[in-house]
Structure formats: C-alpha cells, structure tokens
C-alpha cells in the first residue's frame, strides 16, 4: 500500500442516477425490482440470516449497482439523497427483505470515503461492492457496552505494524466475515475518548479467534472475537491516530431513524391479531381495548416517524430527538409481545411456532423484542441523550 492514488477509482458499472425521478416513480421502480428479484424463500426470515443464505440477494443488488445507495456514484454507490434511500429501505422492509451482511456497505464504506486514504478506498471499496470482503464490527467489549469509550482492546505500534491485544463482543456475524473494523486504544494516557483509533484487520490474521455466542433466540449471530498479538500493517489505521472515536461517532447518520421505523411493531401487531383469532379472544372486550390502545400507539408512532421523514425530505439533518423514535418503537413492540404472551397461555412457552404455523409464534416474537431496547444504544442511554441534548437538563 505504498503508492497512494490521487484520483478516486470508479466502480466498473456506475449506477444510473435516480435522484431526478420523482419519489413515487422511484418507489415503483424499487418495488418492481424487489418483487422480481428477491428470493421468495427468504422473505420475512424469523432470524438474522448468515451470508450463505443472504448472499444471493447481496449479489443481486451488487449486480444492479444498488448495493450502496448512500455512497457517492464515483465510488460505485447510487449517490441517492437521504429521502430516496429511505424509500428504498421502506420498500425492502415492506417486502420482508432480509438484512444482508451489510457492515461493509453501511459502516466501513462511508467511513473510508470520508476518512480513508486513496489507497484504502482503492483497495477496500470495490471488494465490498463485489462481496469479496464481508465485514464485521468490533466496537463493544465485555466491560465496554453502554460506556463504549472505556474500551480496553489495545493497539501498540511496533515498527511498521500495529500489535493488537484484547477482546471484542457482539461482533455480529463474525463467523461470516473475513475482515473486522475495530476501535482500539492507542493512547492509555489520554482522556478516554481521545486515545482511540480505528483499525482494519483481516480475520485470518494469526491471533484472531472467533467464538459464536448463542443468544436467547438460540441463534449464533453474535460472536466474541479475541485478539492475541495480532499484527497488521500500520497502513491499516484509518484517518489519524487517536481520532477513531470522533470518526466513528460522526458516522451515526440518518440511519438512526430506522431504529425507530414502525415496521417491526406493525408486523408484531398483525401477528397479535392472528394469535387472538387463533386463541378465540379477538372479539373479547378486554382484548379489543388492549389491542386498540396498541393500534393507536402504532398509528401515532407512524405520525411521529413521518415528521422526521419529512425533515429528511426537506434536506434537514436529524437531531438528537430521533432517539424518541427508537425508545417508543422498541417499547411498543415489547408491549405488543407482552400481550401475546398474556393471551397465548401455555402456548406462549413453546419453542417452535404453534401448530407449525410461522404466523403464530408468540414466544419467538417476545424474545426477538428483547434486544431492541438494548442495541443501538440502550433506551436508558437514549433517555440520557434526550434529557441532556434535547431538553437541556443539567448534567
């Protein structure tokens, strides 16, 4: 990596510029593409899919030039406005498209485009777009969850190499990945946020060990990743030394709005109604009242979500108040699944869907609703953010 290039490198097939289309026309194009190309057997998967199961969709998107809606077109992205990206994601959600192994597209790509060297962009961006590099994220540690900045995985420069030691956790789909991006401490003396750097590490480097963690869904999407004297060339550091925290934080873009999308609660509410019909309480006055309260909460959540979408459409950025959506959505979804468990009786304790019907799986949805108030910043952290950054309450 000793010959940095001065020009950005084009993706071989630059995507068509779709920004000029009006929103409805664009939505129709996306809707049709999804309907014609999405593999029907992986619609609405009950669990996060591994690469072996979602790569067919990843590669379809790559082939179409639609894998990276937010990247500038000169890097092989679609260069879409935030509003149009939102439409794409809404259409994907609507159809029940699985999430892919998207850390390269969503996290590494934008970070390299903003902070990477020309050499890093030349090497890594095309391989994200081709699916050759599958990335995972090394942020959280056993003792650095909500307080991420207290992370202790350390990188020390020895000659031309960084030597990394430590442990990362919640490295989602790390068993699928061949690269990991991580935050590591590079200055122990500095204030905790100011001694952190951003590094790129191949998963096959000697000293990297991955151990899957079985979660409450009995699924192995999470992993622990250990680093034992792992050596990477010093060029694998992105941006400046000790600036990793600031870079990673700046990456929290408009995607935050999706943690507050009404889709998950809407899906759960439909399942609640099905379950009530199955149980035979759908017309029961007590159930109707509980169900109606949840419907109204969802309808008002949609209205609140829309006000943020409208801001994006007008080209305004999102403020810290977007945390409201995440809190309300995740807790609404949990309240819906609470009612499911309540009406299901003993069936609410079944490991598999009731009578093999995938629409009737209260226990599954109840468990799936647990992490939503934890990941992406726990709801307690989100409330701290609201209190301090939106309501201006004293620290």
């Amino acid at each position: 990596m000793s010959h940095p290039m001065s020009q950005p490198v084009s993706h071989p097939v630059p995507a068509e510029d779709l920004n000029a289309l009006d929103d409805d026309a664009f939505r129709q194009i996306v809707r049709r593409f999804v309907a014609e190309n999405y593999p029907p057997e992986i619609r609405n998967p009950p669990k996060r899919l591994h690469w072996r199961d979602n790569k067919v969709w990843y590669l379809k998107l790559a082939e179409k030039g639609w894998l990276a809606p937010g990247w500038p077109r000169e890097y092989g992205g679609m260069g879409l406005s935030a509003a149009k990206q939102l439409i794409m994601i809404e259409e994907f959600e609507r159809f029940g498209c699985a999430r892919t192994n998207d850390h390269g597209v969503v996290m590494v790509g934008p970070l390299l485009i903003r902070n990477g060297s020309e050499e890093q962009k030349r090497v890594f961006l095309p391989k994200i777009l081709s699916g050759e590099h599958i990335w995972c994220q090394g942020y959280s540690e056993p003792n650095a969850g909500s307080d991420l900045a207290s992370l202790r995985t350390e990188a020390v420069l020895e000659g031309d190499h960084w030597v990394i030691n430590g442990q990362k956790t919640w490295t989602t789909l790390a068993t699928d990945a061949n690269w990991i991006f991580l935050l590591a401490r590079t200055d122990r003396a500095a204030k905790k946020q100011e001694g952190i750097s951003f590094l790129l590490v191949p998963m096959d480097a000697p000293g990297v060990t991955v151990r899957p963690i079985i979660n409450l869904e009995l699924h192995d999407e999470f992993c622990e990743t250990f680093f034992d004297n792992v050596r990477v060339p010093k060029e694998n550091l992105v941006g400046e030394v000790n600036r990793g925290w600031t870079m990673a934080k700046a990456l929290l873009g408009f995607e935050r709005i999706f943690l507050g999308s009404p889709r998950q609660s809407a899906y759960a509410l439909i399942r609640l109604k099905r379950l009530a019909e199955h149980v035979g309480c759908a017309e029961d006055a007590v159930f109707v009242d509980r169900y109606t309260r949840l419907r109204l909460d969802l309808a008002d959540h949609r209205a609140l979500y829309e006000t943020h979408v409208v801001k994006l459409r007008r080209g305004e950025g999102l403020g810290a108040d977007v945390s409201m959506l995440k809190i309300h959505q995740s807790e609404l979804c949990q309240r819906i699944t609470d009612v499911m468990l309540d009406i299901a009786g003993e069936d609410g304790g079944l490991l598999e869907p009731i009578e093999g019907n995938r629409d009737l799986h209260p226990a599954g949805l109840f468990i799936q609703a647990r992490p939503t108030s934890i990941y992406g910043g726990t709801n307690e952290i989100q409330r701290n953010i609201l209190a301090k950054n939106v309501l201006d309450l004293p620290g």
Binding site: R94, A266, I270, K273, V288, D289, Y291, T292, R293, R295, L296, D297, A299, D300, H301, A303, L304, E306, T307, D321, M324, I327, H328, E380, Q382, R383, N384, L386, A387, K388, V390, L391, D392, L393, P394, G395
Partner: protein, 352 residues
C-alpha cells in the same frame, strides 16, 4: 407558494397574533381573577377575540369568515390552551358553522354569543337525541354546556333538526355547576321553548370541535412541560439541580415523547380533516388524536405535580391550574375511552 407553505404561513401569523390575547408567557393573574366568577370568562376579551375574526375562521369568506383550514384552527386552539384561556372559543366556532345572516353576523362580532347545547349523555358524541324540535318549539334537557351563563342563545341539537333558542326565552331554565378550572357547566332545560329551526348536521362539527379540544390540551401540555423543565433546571436539593437526577431525567424524557406523539397525532388528524371528505377517515383520525390528547394531558399534568413536589399542591402555585383545566377539558367532546371504542369500530385495520 404551495398550499402547504401558505398554511404554514397562516399558522405562523395566527400564533403571532394569538400572543396578545392568549400569551404563552407571563403570570396567570387574569385567569385567576376569572375563576369561580358568574361568567367565568371576560366579555372584553371575548370582543377582542371576535375582532380578530377567530370565531369565523373556518367559514367561507362569503359568510364573513377567513376560510382557514382545520390545521390553522388547531394552532389557534393550541395557543388558547397554552394560555389556559377560559373564553369559549371552541363552542363558539362550533355554533358559527350553523348560523346565517344577522344571527351569524351578531355572533361573529360578539354582540350575541351562541353556545351549542348538544349533549345528553356524559362522555360521548351523540348518535341520537331525546330532545325534540317540532312546530317551532323545543323540549328536552341538555347537559355540560361550558360557560352557559355567557350564552345569549343556545344552538340546540334535537331529534328533528337544529334549533336556535334565546337563553332568556320562554320555558328555558339554566342551572350551573362550577368546574375545577373555575368555569361552570350548564344544564339547560327546555319546555316548549320557541326555537328557530336551522339546517345542518352536527356530526362533522363535533369532530372538528373534538380535534380543536385535543389541540387545546396540546397547548396546555406544552406550557406545563416547559414550566416543569424550568423547575428541573433551577430547583436545587442535595446541593444539585434536581434536573441532574437520572430518575427525573428519564421521567422527563418519557413526557417529551408523550408530548411529541400528541403533537404528531393532532397534526396528522388536522391534515386528514383538511384533505379528506370521507366521514370514517375523518372520524377515525379525530378519535385517534382526541384519545391521545385526553390521556396525555392528564398524565402530563399529574407528572408535573409530582416533579414539582409539595409546592405544586398549593393553589397559589400555577401548576395546579393546568391539572384542573386538564381535568375539565380532557373529557369534553368524547372521553378517551369513547374515542378508542369508536376508533376500534371504524378505523380499517391495514395489513400494510
């Protein structure tokens, strides 16, 4: 300028002009002075309100109105709520949509105040009436008419149509009961009272009034929340600002979410009313927003009392004014339970 931009500009102007009559800042000396008086509101202020053209704001220009949409009306009602204004704007706007000619002109200028007497059962919008109108006479009983002592005439909803009845007309008796906010409800009994028959269907007007009531509650919530934030930022205990305590920060964050859900709900309902002629769509949107606002306003004011602590339990401190107002207004034009039930009955369950 798009329609939406024009509406946003109207709303800005309405809020600005409302500040003179229904201020968002300052003390509540005016409100306190009017509490538990015979009239319960201020005639002079009522004339100012009329002079602003607000009573006719929804009417077409040909009828002396401003032809504003429901979104503009909600903005005005919100400002009234933020000021805890006791003047009967919402009932008067309701009545204006059924009056014509001189009686409308007198109502709009404030010369004669017409208040609707539509309700016969607590907590619900009417499907039918026991009150009857026939051959120019009304007989029956209407309840919960706010500020009834201020009425020069009543717009009576009855089986057989609408009737306009003079407040001091033959066979009309008004009995009032004071309400927590310092106003009063009137129970009006009509015995063969002379009535002028009027055309019209009150159902759509009731929905608009229910939504305006939700907006009034939103304004009330906004103001009491701002007061609570101020208190959290200044009050000290244990050597710290109490707003630095996480237990209170998290409660306050939840109130902020509640406030913004209410705002979004009302805004989208107003948009539905301005955009759709479909009665079910309109009614469902109104029920959603009113159910939200009624529950939210009561929760917000209860929490405001708790966060302020002992001082809030004194009548001298203003937070109690918000609680008492919410207690009275939250159940007007349909309780949250009634609106939830109506929503369940009419809103289509989308599978989207």
């Amino acid at each position: 300028m798009t329609d939406r931009d024009a509406q946003a500009e109207n709303i800005r102007l309405i809020r600005e002009s409302a500040a003179a009559i229904a201020p968002r800042r300052g003390d509540f000396a005016r409100i306190r002075a009017l509490r538990f008086t015979h009239l319960g509101f201020d005639r002079a202020v009522w004339h100012e309100i009329c002079a602003m053209g607000w009573v006719g704001l929804l009417l077409p220009e040909a009828h002396g109105g401003s032809a504003f949409g429901v979104a503009e009306y909600c903005a005005l009602a919100e400002e009234f709520g933020a000021a805890l204004a006791p003047e009967p704007l919402i009932p008067a706007v309701f009545a204006a949509s059924f009056l014509r000619g001189d009686m409308l002109a007198d109502h709009l200028t404030g010369k004669r105040l017409v208040l609707p007497a539509w309700q016969e059962k607590p907590g619900e919008l009417p499907a039918s009436h026991l009150t009857r109108i026939a051959s120019g006479e009304v007989s029956g009983r209407k309840i919960f008419v706010p500020m009834a002592n201020g009425a020069d005439a009543f717009l009576v909803a009855a089986e057989g149509g609408l009737g306009l009845v003079d407040a001091d007309g033959e066979g009309v008796s008004v009995v009032t009961a004071p309400t927590q906010d310092g106003g009063h409800f009137g129970t009006i009994t009509f015995e063969d009272s002379p009535a002028e028959a009027l055309p019209g269907d009150i159902a759509p007007a009731l929905d608009v009034a229910a939504l305006a009531t939700a907006a009034y509650l939103l304004g009330l919530m906004d103001r009491v929340f701002a007061a609570t934030l101020d208190y959290l930022r200044t009050r000290e205990q244990f050597g710290r600002k109490i707003g630095s305590f996480q237990a209170l920060q998290h409660r306050t964050a939840d109130l902020k979410i509640l406030l913004e859900l209410t705002r979004a709900s009302i805004a989208s309902a107003a948009e539905s009313l301005d955009a759709s002629d479909d009665a079910r769509t309109r009614a469902a949107a109104v029920s959603r927003a009113k159910a939200r606002a009624s529950d939210a306003a009561l929760r917000m004011t209860r929490e405001a009392i708790q966060i302020h602590g002992g001082i809030a339990y004194t009548d001298e401190f203003d937070i109690g004014l918000f609680l008492r107002k919410a207690m009275v207004v939250a159940n007007q034009f349909g309780t949250s339970a009634w609106h939830r039930a109506r929503y369940a009955a009419i809103a289509p369950e989308s599978e989207e």
